[in-house]
Amino acid sequence: MTLELDRDHAVDLLRQMLRIRRFEEKCAELYSGGKIRGFLHLYIGEEAVAVGAIPCFTPEDAIVGTYREHGHALIRGTPMGPLMAELYGKANGCARGRGGSMHFFDAARRFYGGLAIVGGGLPVAVGLALAQKLTPPPPLLDKGGNEGGVTACFFGDGAVAEGEFHESLNLAALWKLPVLFLCENNLYAMGTAIGRHQSQTDIARKADAYAIPAEAVNGMDVLAVEAATRKAVDSVRAGNGPYLLEYRTYRFRAHSMYDAELYRTKDEVAQWKQRDPIPLFQQRLRAEGYVSDSDLDDMETAIAAEIAEAVSFAENGPWEPLEDLTKDLYTPAKPAG
């Protein structure tokens, strides 16, 4: 296949995938060093999905992510420093350090989490899309208008087993809401293979039951992800109601930081690593003459510098003072008068 691609765009796709990969490799190292605690679900292997999909959305659109959302926040535009600081639990994190790895939030970029109960983000996304559909009259808009705003809802194959998946698809289709259900099918609900938890393993077909158009996409190919997502976003933005995409992808590392991986074979992992979205895309760009070895070196150097700066931002960040423990539980009351 010939790449009919803008060079700058192609190189940027590669750069963005590498940013996630290198950021998360650093996270794993920092976890081993005790700087990051709790759960740490790495996205390594799945980068083509966030990088292909998220730039299809405008700043007015809303994004709802899961507990494996580092890549999504990074591609949405949250700077790496506040993300790393969040992983450290520092007050200069993107959620003041309150949430950690599973709970990135960024109001300015309409990034609504970081929601870590499997399936729990789908109803919230349906509601965000409802608000977009019921676009309040002009005086109530914060800036300019969100007509045509859509909501991107990411979830995994595990969520498909939850009642909220089925309820949310039904309600969104019934009310013709502008929401994209974006399933990152990495074949495992934690350690349970899809064939061991789904009677119908073809997730895209489930959308039929709710009269929602759907497509399964090669989630290891950033260009395929981008093309399919753009088409789906156009349909939703045009007012045709929800759309479901199933990105077929694979997680190269453990579910969280460590697991014994008793649930899959080393051969299977090795096979999927042959389809690693980053080297494959790199080879394509090299073959096209879009990047040279020195370009790639420069790219790696720049990313390493960005990561070093993010680590320093996190290291130097303050801890939230103890007296702020209950701050922000409720919105502070406005002073009388």
Binding site: G97, P123, V126, G127, L130, P137, N170, L329
Partner: protein, 325 residues
Amino acid sequence: MTKMTYREAVRTGLREALQSDPRVFLMGEDVGKYGGTYACSKGLLDEFGPERIRDTPLSESTFVGAGIGAALGGMRPIVEVMTVNFSLLALDQIVNNAATIRHMSGGQFSIPLVVRMATGAGRQVAAQHSHSLEGWYAHIPGITVLAPATVTDARGMLLSALQEPDPVFIFEHAYLYPHEGELEGHPLPVDLTRAAIRRAGTEVSLITFGGSLWKALEAADHLAREGISAEVVDLRVLRPLDISTVLTSVRRTHRAVVIDEGWRTGSFAAEVSAQIMEGAFYDLDGPVARVCSVEVPIPYPKHLEEAALPQPANIVRAVRSLMGR
């Protein structure tokens, strides 16, 4: 002063909210065409149209979650969950999302969501439709929990709830819907930080909320005929609890009986009792007493259901025992 039923008061509040703020909409099971299971939204579909009065599928978790999302997106949703019994299907959204997102996001997001639901027993609908779980909800930080017992509060607390920037859960006792009362003119909105003294007294404080308020008032009448002066405190806001009004009353009467339709173990009454002990122990003339539901699934036959629930007679007995009579 206008006489109206509790359900008419709720409907009045809903209509006023829909009229005054274009961001407000109502959604839930059978709120539109059917007019609401308890007829609270009767006529509102015709008046406000299907965009603002939205019938939902039987998907509690998703329509409560959609309320959270719509609130995050700038709307002011009122979600009606038919009854507290079905709200259990939405607990994930309530506990994991509604209550956490503001704090967990470092204060970046507010969720101005109002959820209303019917609660309580007393209508012979058996164990799966008779729960009183307000106390469970009051356990959860990050939300506000209201239990309006009067027609004035049924209207006013709804309007106050809609002014709140954070999630509010309103428990309307199903037994009260046909109950008639005086709607006080325009004292809105209700102060959501204050309990209310419904009857002044000097010898014992009867502390309660929701449907049990009327039983406590009946008991107080009975006690008055026996020469015992009971004060009746309507908590009406379970979170945040206005303990100072309770303590002030108890310091004056020196005796407290807490009445709660929830089961005794781990009940909201247990919390109130503990806080009285912490705050007014040396003012008490005797142990705090509780009148709660018997710890069984609420049975269908009338005589058994009545025996399972707090009744005025139980309250009177608890007071007599406390006073050594």
